[in-house]
Symmetry: D2
Subunit: 279 residues, 4 copies
């Protein structure tokens, strides 16, 4: 009766200080390893002979990190996934998920500091490598990129029914927290860090400049721009919560709200998601 199953170790906190002569570099990642394969004996009979302990997976991450340059999450994910796929118990599928906790250099008199860092916070970059005997699938993404535009955003001309009380808005605040995942189709040896930064730039620029008729409309423009400008991306999935900013009614106090005063709300929120794929 067992159908799918997978197991592994999550929340492996890995920090590496790369001690170059002139300055240090920091890699601060959370790594997760998951294996799929024939583990029926463990499930059904409690036979652990083919079960690699999740504690060993954790050890492996630290040991391999000490010998890998950690150039990018993608390159380390590729190396880790190869190791686990080729080692006992020879699983059929390995997934390595990574999240980057970014650090910037603290500004100092003579430029960015060599060994003191500041966590910018808020946003994180993600990568996931899934590997089977057929090959590797590389997904990257970002989470928690919170953005807002106070011009060039409307929502009007929508469908109305008996439960509709919303009025047309021709000039509203559009605020969201971007969750993006894109799939690379251009091989296993790309300039991962540069690409991720460029894709983020495309998302931001499109959001800022788009003349938005709805969240859906801007989401589509953002996804299209990524597919147009970045040939390495085969598909992108975007989730944009609509973080509503409601104008406050100041009339009871004899004041006019000239589209200036808003209450930022958490609940309820719109939730818009779509996948765009190269046609």
């Amino acid at each position: 009766m067992l159908s799918e199953n997978r197991y592994g170790k999550s929340g492996i906190r890995l920090v590496k200080v790369i001690r170059r002569r002139e300055r240090h570099e920091i890699r601060d990642w959370t790594v997760a390893v998951a294996l799929e394969g024939d583990f029926a004996a463990a499930h059904e009979r409690g036979d652990n002979a083919r079960v690699l302990p999740t504690d060993t997976m954790k050890n492996t991450v630290y040991a391999m990190a000490s010998e890998d340059p950690l150039d990018s999450m993608e390159s380390f994910g590729l190396a880790l996934s190869r190791h686990f796929l080729e080692s006992p118990p020879l699983p059929s599928r390995v997934t390595i998920s990574l999240e980057q906790h970014p650090w910037e250099r603290i500004p100092a008199a003579g430029g960015p500091h060599a060994s003191a860092f500041l966590r910018p916070g808020g946003e994180s970059r993600l990568a996931a490598v899934t590997r089977t005997r057929e090959g590797a699938r590389i997904e990257a993404g970002l989470e928690g990129l919170t953005i807002l535009k106070s011009a060039a955003s409307a929502f009007a001309g929508f469908l109305r029914d008996r439960f509709t009380t919303l009025r047309d808005a021709t000039d509203r605040i559009f605020a969201t927290s971007v969750s993006a995942r894109w799939l690379y189709s251009g091989g296993t040896d790309l300039a991962w860090e540069l690409l991720a930064r460029a894709i983020r730039g495309t998302l931001l620029e499109t959001f800022a400049d788009h003349d938005s008729a709805s969240v859906q409309h801007t989401l589509d423009a953002m996804g299209e721009a990524v597919l147009e400008r970045h040939a390495e991306v085969g598909e992108i999935r975007l989730t944009l919560p609509n973080k509503h900013h409601i104008p406050v009614d100041l009339n009871p106090f004899g004041l006019e709200n000239r589209n200036e005063i808003f209450v930022a709300t958490e609940e309820p929120y719109g939730r818009i998601e779509a996948t765009l794929r190269r046609g």
Copy 2:
């Protein structure tokens, strides 16, 4: 280039006080509505004529809740999903997701209080109804059921490689926070609340009594017990994080740890998941 897309309103906080003559009842739910269908015009051209505002979805939840008895999340999810599927813009798929925030009566001199309640916290019950022209799919579940057993749990005889340092454990703490989702296959008019409570009882009882050789082993036993005892369930998916409790080494202080003193850790954690389906 647009492939999948969906949109809706999440985080709709709904509280209903059902004022019976002798005592009040509380329904405290968070509801989400999502529609899928042909929304290409909105995405690609910013044409909102077929877009039902998410604000209207929220209004609809409150309006329908005032006329529905709210017997269960499943019954209300079925009613809501029918309304949205049959209303403009006639989407192809509707998903209603619900989370229950439970309230118990405060104990009073003459028994449970008629109108004063206590939130037990920790755990929540979930339901999701997905409806298309072909029919409705009803999933239920629970999240955050945190349990621990201090006997009858081992992990030994596992695969070892050069990165393995873990030792066999014949008597360890097994702690987890159960996430469960099951799919009903027995129609749209079941005793949803009773069933959910009975399935939770089966999960708890099996966890407590199982002689565990691993998390996988106990997960399998829990899923099998649900399928065996509850004919209405066609499939169950369980996710059991292994919330490690590490014995503290007291030798440096001239003390012996007789398997009594542990540190409870959050990271890293094992993550075991599987789906069991009626064969």
Copy 3:
């Protein structure tokens, strides 16, 4: 220029399994240790000779927990505070703060299970022992006790000014999450667990039965009841956020809201706090 200072270890996760012949008991606490005293040399000159490492504080908690029966957080806090006050570097004040993560037994066929437990969640019990050469101060409390009453709650006849739009409410929902701290004045050898349970019962019963004219009014009644019924308590501080439940306007949909349908909101919230002291 250094005035106050203190340092210590927080977040020490301590789990002890007390293995009685017939059944196990669990203590699951988070402990914090803080020392105050003359640490100017460490601050001003980087001289650590009088600095006991916070790592040692953690070790001490585990070592002493292995030899202490852990009857209550208060009794263990008293023992730990005595140890640190009397050990080098002979601090002038020691504070031990403890938080209890409760576990209940899983119900089984023959009664509560001997070694399988369920975390009820939501609410936690707290204790803090502060010790100086003059003696020990014992504070206890609870956090996150979320309660609601759907009858016997009003708010009317309040002060109005030009910014007031709120209307009198004669029958409203009153929901809050109690944060309570009380100071014991009856010595260092009380029945701590029983007392804490009884005080919680008094808080709940008073909340449930009180005919509430405001949050302030009920807060006062709850505090007074504790001081009246529990002679060991010299002072109690209560913080009651007003977790607003707003009636939904159903008129636009041709429906009447008979005080039944509410939206539960997180922000903004009222915040009412007061200390009651034995007169």
Copy 4:
């Protein structure tokens, strides 16, 4: 028996778009209002005649925000506190607490965008104005400034006892999340925004450049630098959790850890706090 008491509204989410001709500016704050005074009648008898509803406090924040330039949290806090102190019910003390949610401009082709913003996240700036008939007390601060240095940090030569297992570290990672609060002593009309930015710069620069013998040592240096460079600050309180980074033992795998591979831990953590006051 009632001793201290206070009440008010917290979590008031205020967003103002300042629509200048060439570009928009955003103020995104969470505001809390609290009043203290003679509210015994409300507490003891449920008489609300002197109770200004917390809903009115919220309305007042929005109404006054529409007429105030919102130059800084401090200036708006001063205006709000004056209003409440001078209005019925004439409280004896008013506290306005504010938290800033920062927004940066999205970079665009022609420079920073005029109306599109990015939330940098992570860190927040705080202000609190407390006003009585005697005058106003202005505190400012920051929270969540997460920083790390991978050089010039040691901890050695500390006190040892039978529970000490920690070894001297001459080159360790020092990571912390700064919580700072400082008290202004230079009047009510300072350049609040510039000052807060400059103080933050001083904290960062001192952290980066200090040759650290302990967290206490660096905390002291950071506080002293603020008092030395910023005459407007009369007192500063710093709380620096020690976010431990533990070197991973790679010996079991035949590898050497050249002070490069660390596990970042959340619990337990050191907690160091001190107040420095102008002598």
